[in-house]
């Protein structure tokens, strides 16, 4: 970091979108400084926990099977967002994914066939070899080779914006504050999901029991500064992508391995040992994000996924061992639930099951009758010891609140005019495309598309 010079492009953030912007701007010949607020080991924001990119393709392509045309992609997005999306920006993102893999490979990213247990994504999603951290490592190597300067433990705490134009940032770094000047800035610093106070403000006291699946460094500082400076917002602060994860996961950064994938194979009860939703409504990949919200709505934001010996070994083994017992009563005691209540819930459930042919690969005909809430598929008696339980809590993946952008990745002011030299990319603007809901691999698609556009446009602005 050099306080005596004026950088061409200043990038706030160090994840996928930030690095795509940095590489693109540096290749256009601009001087680039990346400010990553995390230490080097934890660089990359939530990109570190990602694993794939949702790709449009009209024919089988290396790791992708069959085809996934633009319109199907768009319809999938429309469905999950319920229309809370900007079609122009969404289609730009989708089209970008048709070609960006070649660019990614050129900059060191490697792809692998779909991982075990993810065959349902083989057609739509290209997996990074080694996951998101390997992708970031490749991008950092590329960026550094292009002369991009990277500062770790460096957080922008103030932006000097006058008449809608950015001139400099105050950066906190190793206990001192430095003023860094630049001709253009790219805000790619993520959302606010690590900011517990902000989460509480948005969601109320229930937020205290949420776990944060990703980076502890997404405090939303840059987002807050931009909003306070008059940026137009997109997305709802009270909306977030929320998954039911193992309650024993750490408060932050547990990532994917805190998952529990056996909800559809058993029942889920709350603190009062009562069931509260249909565990077998649809395939788990379509339901895990719904279960985050469901658990969040329960007392104390806690629930327990309970299975018996028949289901053990039929789902990806979670990181934490199950709580195990030889009877439902013993299990209740181990979970500190009311034993009679749990026994009653289980026996009611068992009695309500109609006979059917169990098949976990289909929406089978094993369902309950006359039970509320029902279990529509994969309902089998919990009758074979030992019994197992995994405690569940809501795990926040990301927040939707962001700044509005146009198709040049320029940030939009509240009066709908674009900011001349402020660009935004990645999670901080993902709400433009994904205002609600989730489809796997869309975050990296948005980050890659808008990161590259922001880098290109920032470079062009400096040249002009």
């Amino acid at each position: 970091m050099d306080v005596s010079r004026t950088y061409d492009v200043l990038i706030l953030g160090g994840g996928n979108a930030a690095l795509c912007a940095a590489i693109t701007a540096a290749q256009a010949g601009r001087s680039v400084l990346v400010l990553e607020c995390a230490p080097k080991h934890f660089r990359g924001g939530n990109s570190r926990h990602t694993r794939n990119l949702r790709c449009m393709h009209d024919a089988p392509a290396d790791v992708l099977s069959d085809s996934y045309p633009e319109d199907e992609y768009w319809q999938d997005l429309l469905k999950v967002t319920g229309g809370q999306t900007n079609e122009k920006l969404a289609r730009m993102t989708i089209r970008h994914t048709a070609t960006c893999r070649e660019w990614m490979i050129r900059h060191g990213v490697r792809f692998q066939p779909p991982l075990g247990g993810t065959l349902q994504l083989a057609r739509t999603n290209a997996f990074f070899l080694g996951g998101g951290k390997a992708l970031l490592n490749a991008y950092y190597r590329t960026a550094e080779a292009l002369g991009v300067e990277v500062a770790y433990d460096a957080e922008a705490i103030e932006l000097d914006i006058r008449d809608g134009k950015f001139t400099s940032a105050i950066v906190a770094h190793q206990g001192v504050q430095l003023e860094i000047r630049a001709k253009a800035v790219v805000a790619a610093a993520g959302g606010f999901e690590s900011n517990l106070a902000w989460l509480r403000e948005a969601w109320g006291p229930a937020a205290d029991n949420f776990l944060i699946r990703g980076t502890p460094y997404n405090m939303g500082r840059v987002l807050r500064i931009l909003l306070d400076s008059g940026a137009k917002t997109v997305g709802d602060a009270a909306q977030g992508h929320c998954v039911a994860i193992d309650a024993r996961a750490p408060k932050f950064d547990g990532g994917i391995c805190t998952r529990v994938d056996c909800v559809s194979l058993g029942i889920v009860v709350n603190r009062d040992a009562q069931r509260f939703d249909d565990e077998g409504l649809d395939f788990w990949p379509k339901r895990y994000a719904v279960w985050g919200q469901l658990v969040a709505a329960q007392p104390d934001q806690i629930a327990y996924s309970i299975i018996d010996a028949k289901a053990m070994g039929k789902f990806i083994p979670p990181m934490f061992p199950p709580i195990k017992a030889n009877s439902v009563r013993e299990l209740a005691l181990a979970l500190e639930l009311h034993p009679a209540a749990l026994e009653s819930t289980v026996s009611q459930f068992n009695q309500a099951i109609r006979s059917g042919t169990f098949d976990h690969t289909l929406l089978d005909d094993c369902a309950t009758a006359g039970l509320s809430p029902p279990k529509s598929h994969w309902a089998r008696s919990l009758d074979t010891a030992p019994f197992f339980a995994y405690p569940l809590r809501p795990g926040i993946t990301f927040t939707y609140l962001g700044v509005a952008v146009n198709e040049r990745a320029q940030m939009i002011w509240q009066d709908d005019s674009p900011a001349a030299n402020i660009f935004a990319a990645g999670e901080i603007m993902a709400g433009n495309v994904l205002g609600k809901g989730y489809v796997a691999g869309i975050g990296m698609a948005i980050g890659t598309a808008f990161g590259r556009i922001a880098g290109e446009e920032a470079a062009r602005h400096v040249a002009a």
Partner: protein
């Protein structure tokens, strides 16, 4: 054969903890054989970890890609844990069992054996052989080597050592395989064995995502793969030279030293050059490697073996160059002393990785033919 002892409980528990995280994450599945093998399991007992540890090529790709690597609170240093377990399995399977202690402080052990072997040989030569013969220059056509040390002595000494080494290695391999729970005959199933040998000969799992593995540091490189190829094929060429020379001696009655243009000398020279560059390169890579990935007691063992390989080629090539000079007698003693130390320590040093790695690959290919556990979509 006494039954193999167990690995340290704490190490097995730590291994199971880490493997459970990997099994829930699975991002590294495409790097090598370890992760697909791991994903076939729901829990990780000692035997599973011993297998995975020996399947691991210690390339480091998974460490650099790991979102849970230290300083993350999960402290997931998977390759280092596997290296620690691997070393323990070397002790566990060693035969005869009391000699497994030699894997403790292995670098020092190998050094002491080398020194002892050299001292013994040189002492014996100076003691038993007339100094005027030992320190004289000999013409090649006079059967120079055997003028100093009789062929009989050389053949008997090395023959006995070689036989012992073969038996010790074979028993170790049997112990490893028995621990895997696979059937003895299955080791020789043609298809898995062929695939495994091909994987080993190409060092397939040191290729990373195509641009090499993350060794010695994060930037992918083919350096280790190529230095290992030079070492392995150099070793094989030297071995081939010895075999051809044996055939010459017993089959045709042709006595060494052979002409510079003869097959044994050409093979030995080519192999010697490989064994010069390969081990030197591997030692250099080891010196600059990111230490956080290396097993606690691994370095001494690795360095000991590489140093012996390097010194055997240096002394062999010097002997070749100076074989008609008066230094020949002493050089021959030094070379034979080093080669003897190399052979004696084969079953109790880094060399055993070749056996267990190959056997682990065979098991991997055997398992791949079986159906994987039925796991629902995540």
């Amino acid at each position: 054969m006494s039954p193999p002892r167990s690995l340290p409980v704490a190490l097995v528990e730590e291994g199971a903890r880490m493997a459970s995280i990997c099994n829930a994450c699975r991002y590294c599945e495409g790097f090598c054989a370890v992760f697909p093998a791991l994903e076939r399991r729901l829990s990780f007992a000692e035997g599973d970890l011993a297998y995975l540890a020996n399947l691991c090529h210690d390339c480091g790709s998974c460490y650099y890609a790991c979102q849970y690597a230290p300083p993350h609170e999960f402290q997931l240093n998977f390759p280092r844990m596997l290296a620690d377990i691997r070393l323990q399995t070397y002790r566990k399977y060693a035969w005869p069992s009391p000699l497994s202690a030699l894997f403790q402080r292995n670098g020092i052990v190998v050094g002491l054996v080398a020194a002892a072997s050299l001292a013994l040989l040189l002492w014996a030569m100076f003691f038993f052989i007339d100094r005027s013969v030992l320190l004289a220059a000999h013409a090649d056509n006079a059967g120079a080597f055997y003028a100093v040390l009789s062929h009989r002595t050389m053949a008997w000494t090395f023959g006995i050592v070689f036989l012992f080494v073969v038996v010790a290695l074979a028993v170790s391999l049997v112990r490893f395989w028995r621990d895997s729970g696979e059937k003895f005959g299955d080791f020789f199933s043609p298809e898995p064995l062929t695939h495994s040998v091909a994987d080993a000969l190409r060092l397939r799992y040191l290729a990373g995502g195509g641009e090499g593995c993350t060794y010695p540091a994060e930037t992918p490189s083919h350096a280790r793969r190529w230095f290992h190829h030079l070492t392995f094929y150099g070793f094989m060429l030297c071995f081939a030279a010895t075999c051809v020379a044996t055939i010459y001696h017993y089959g045709f009655g042709w006595k060494a030293p052979y002409a510079f243009s003869s097959l044994p000398v050409l093979l030995g020279t080519a192999g010697g050059i490989g064994l010069l560059i390969g081990p030197a390169g591997l030692l250099w890579l080891k010196a600059i490697r990111n230490r956080t990935l290396s097993g606690a007691k691994q370095t001494g063992m690795d360095v000991g073996f590489l140093a012996l390989l390097l010194w055997s080629s240096v002394s062999g090539l010097l002997l070749l160059a100076l074989r008609e000079s008066s230094a020949m007698g002493v050089l021959l003693g030094i070379h034979l002393g080093i080669v003897m130390a190399l052979f004696v320590t084969l079953p109790y040093g880094k060399f055993v990785h070749a056996l267990y790695r190959l056997a682990a690959l065979v098991r991997f290919h055997l398992e791949r033919r079986r159906t994987a556990p039925e796991i629902g979509a995540e």
